[in-house]
Symmetry: D2
Subunit: 328 residues, 4 copies
């Protein structure tokens, strides 16, 4: 392999943020169009995943034009089914009217996917789940989660739906919380246009090995997409990729490579206090370094190390591929 | 319901322990027979799960006699596939000879289950997994785990095999690590005599809601058994049940009850520094208190609270059933 | 002791919230005056801790009147040194102008404490710290944190300043992160009007035992205040008190009682998706239940259990005081 | 700086291990002398920290000879105050006789330090603390911990005592659990021959930044020693250094360097399932790589990045020093 991977990013990488403390925001609000322009200024970025709805007043044609001007394609559309209307759940909201409104928004998002020629509707039901032990009937909650996804995906057999699982946040505990649980849910849905978007950080702080989760999803034919970032393993910090877990991000990309998975290398980061363009450039610098290390890696040696489950041998190979090793 | 549940315990509750620091043990070693005698001195205990092999020199007939003398039945047999021979894995050991030896031991244990009329062979592959990122090929490792279980269970269609999943320890990361992953593995095994033993503490520190995990396993018809204990949510501390997570243990038993699950309430605790009989009695005192609270609970009220996902209402009902509530 | 404790709450308990996903807020925004009115409707609430600045347009006199009308006193004022201006730090901001602006706001808040006759200025420097390993020089950062607090408290020798430590959030890692570190910092400040506000949940998810942290602070004469809530031990979930960690909250209040600490029992909760008045009432119901259990506890028995470090004996006493125990 | 650091290891790196599951051990037991011989076979290793007592039957003279033959010096002696006799605590044991026996062993160990010309007695009170909430009186427990250390260190004014703090294990919660708490305790001891041995992994999984902890201890003049390893941030896995947290270990060594701290770079690892010599060599290969990266680092650039708290700039410098960076 000699060509670089395609690089992408969630458009929110270029937004500004709020949280429960900095309620006036970490910076001035930016429109969808401004975010696209910023993304376009990152040289190696080819595609973006866009939140939907766009900023009020911004139309689909304007977005198309802005993407074209920025030299960007759309890989996915992420309907914001985690706003106030759905703070008690989108698919699993106890109120049927709220569930119906969530589906309406997702149907709209599906239309936008068609219009932009994107690869999938990304479904991230961040408010689906519970906060307190004993708050819900678990059978009923899970049924709502699965039935809603079936209704959605069944209505758009021409499109693909990628569920992004996450252990928690904003809900204290989320329904689609792991790779294995997501596979079970997709089996229950029973449609062939539902898969998973694997977020490296979600997997990591959920206690999975992201490489193992990727392998499992590939073995089930369900790895529709992935994005990367980093964290301290206790929360979805959405830090810049490779700043903490270098071995594990390298193993993750290694696993994709040996399975011949060739999708987009996507960033899902929240640079709250950093310049987003600088953060994206620093991230892609790291991704290129990881890619070059993959090119350099001794695959036969690694295969032998894995056959023996020899961690020391494997780590010496990683060091050689990735680090400026000094041996006396 | 007016009868008490049947209470059980892993026989290791009455053993003494070693760890990597107190290498001379937390107390003098005891034989299988001595452990049975201690278990028998706990009034409300009816069944035990026995490690296999028994203490060297102790035969099956002696064990039968000891159980009878103690007024105890055997609910399960747990082959010790986590001793030195299998420190690099039982099913997933890179050495085929070690894997074969593990199967031999498990076949023997299956024979003991038949002899004692126990309910299941409990399979806890604590050494199966990996320690380091990049140590294994995840596809191959999981295949070993699944194929080995299929070979084992396929050889004994008259018996039931209960896999006890756990996130980690002694291996830094274990293969059978969650309820959802276990269900996937059992689907891949494709036999109807393999299920799950759900350990409350494993589920809790693995980031699951134990009640949710129980519901999921019940919905798949796979909850073969369960045991309880407690921890600080970061490790398998195997503390006495109810000493930390009172709401969650109550929700766990509530979930079993509303599903009509009527198996044994079993203890899996390691009272390293406590008198094991005192610890078992204190535990059963708590279990009876929880059972009485279940009897007292307002089920209609809880159903309504759950339909509305009203955590505050649910918690007032829990308080009323469980606590000595004082309202001004 | 026969009188109930005084109950209080952070006024933000009655606000509505934003987070990085529900950017349109979990409910319509409410003014300081509306929050006070809601707090006033909770029967047993006597005092509140108020964020400062108040909602734009709301003056100090109006706040005084609203408090009076609501039958509430002010226990503390919390300057919002975590808004956008200070997203890269208040005391530890690399920009001296931002640090100066933070001090200005805190000086103003000190004036409000005087005007309202409150007990302390609460300092919660949530943006002080770092996000990435290798982002800061740790010596310099800590010096900024300590020097700034000294400058602030030194300017108001007639007032008390209570630092509320927290491990993280919104900053990935905070400077004042534990009880012990806070004591060291206060020693370095060298003034006698700086102490600590201990938040039960911060202590818990920071890996402390809240009871142990309280004891340590009391032994140093630095426990200026405390507030309670609950979480799942991995994040500052700010759940309703007693919904998860019943043993530990009871041990916390027990420790205060045996030391004769008689301050306000304060709530610091974020009922994102609950009615705040209902949540406050449910919380106080729990606090009264805990208080009654404290009244009922066998202190001599507990003293003996502690002398022997006998956890089983201690837990039977807790069960008797707190639970509706059933013994066959 | 052009000379390499001195490398050391806890002698237990070369031992074999037990745990609560593999009760027959991860390998055949080895004697102190055999462990020394293995350590001697690792080319770059200069010093070891020895557990005391030695294997029964092995005398001090034999140990001296073995060290000499292996070309090793003794940096410290670690009395095993965590064996069965002290499973309920060494300094904090409720039984005064157990406390006295622990002191006896530590006095003996002090004698061995003198005999071997080691740098310190290392005190790691792994059994001191508690398992259950509400098990102890926290004031009394901490007083026992501090008073005992004072008695010990006061009896040997010619020696140095290095406390190795750790959050937990084997005790569910340990008394000396963090850098800040240890400093407080040492202040209370009031002697100038008590300091801290900072274990990178303990600090990391205790929620500290190891670099920050090192800086704090240096600022108090208390960093007597340090050792390194790695883990997954949830437990003391004692993995080979640099296999997971490359950024943080590099920041740790950077912090030591800019403070002119020039002690031994010591390994505290438990290669349960690896060949210990292979693991030690792989570790030192990593340490040399880190040392070379330190030599290469742009210190002026890092200073500027730190003054601005510019994480992106800092990380590009780290990448340049440590990784085989590829920029298009």
């Amino acid at each position: 392999m000699s060509t670089q991977p395609t690089f992408g990013a969630g458009l929110w990488h270029f937004a500004s943020y709020l949280d429960r403390y900095a309620v006036d925001g970490y910076g001035p609000a930016r429109t969808t169009l401004e975010n696209i322009a910023l993304a376009g200024s990152v040289e190696d970025l080819s595609v973006v995943d866009l939140n939907y709805p766009f900023t009020p007043g911004v139309g689909l044609d304007e977005v198309k034009d802005a993407l074209k001007a920025a030299g960007l394609g759309a890989i996915g559309i992420t309907p914001e089914i985690y706003l106030r209307r759905w703070s008690r759940g989108a698919f699993t909201n106890p109120d049927p009217a709220a569930r119906a409104a969530a589906l309406d928004l997702m149907h709209e998002a599906a239309g936008v996917v068609r219009e932009l020629g994107a690869s999938y509707v990304k479904i991230w039901p961040g408010q689906d789940g519970w906060d307190y032990p004993f708050q819900v009937n678990h059978h009923d909650l899970w049924k709502l989660a699965v039935d809603g996804m079936r209704e959605l995906a069944g209505a758009h057999p021409d499109l693909r739906f990628a569920i992004e699982y996450k252990p928690r946040e904003p809900r204290v505990k989320m329904t689609w919380d792991s790779a294995a649980r997501s596979i079970l849910g997709i089996q229950q849905i029973g449609l062939d246009n539902v898969g998973v978007l694997l977020d490296f950080g979600h997997s990591l702080y959920g206690g999975e090995s992201p490489a193992d989760a990727a392998q499992l999803l590939i073995d089930y034919g369900l790895l529709y997409g992935m994005d990367v970032n980093d964290n301290l393993r206790g929360w979805d910090d959405d830090l810049v990729v490779g700043t903490v877990h270098l071995t594990e991000i390298f193993e993750f990309f290694y696993t994709l490579r040996i399975n011949g998975w060739e999708g987009v290398w996507q960033l899902d980061q929240f640079p709250f206090r950093e310049d987003p363009v600088d953060a994206a450039r620093t991230s892609i610098r790291m991704l290129k370094t990881l890619y070059a290390a993959l090119e350099r890696l001794d695959y036969e040696g690694m295969k032998a190390a894995h056959a023996a489950q020899d961690a020391m041998a494997a780590h010496r190979l990683i060091q050689d591929a990735l680090l400026r090793v000094e041996v006396a």
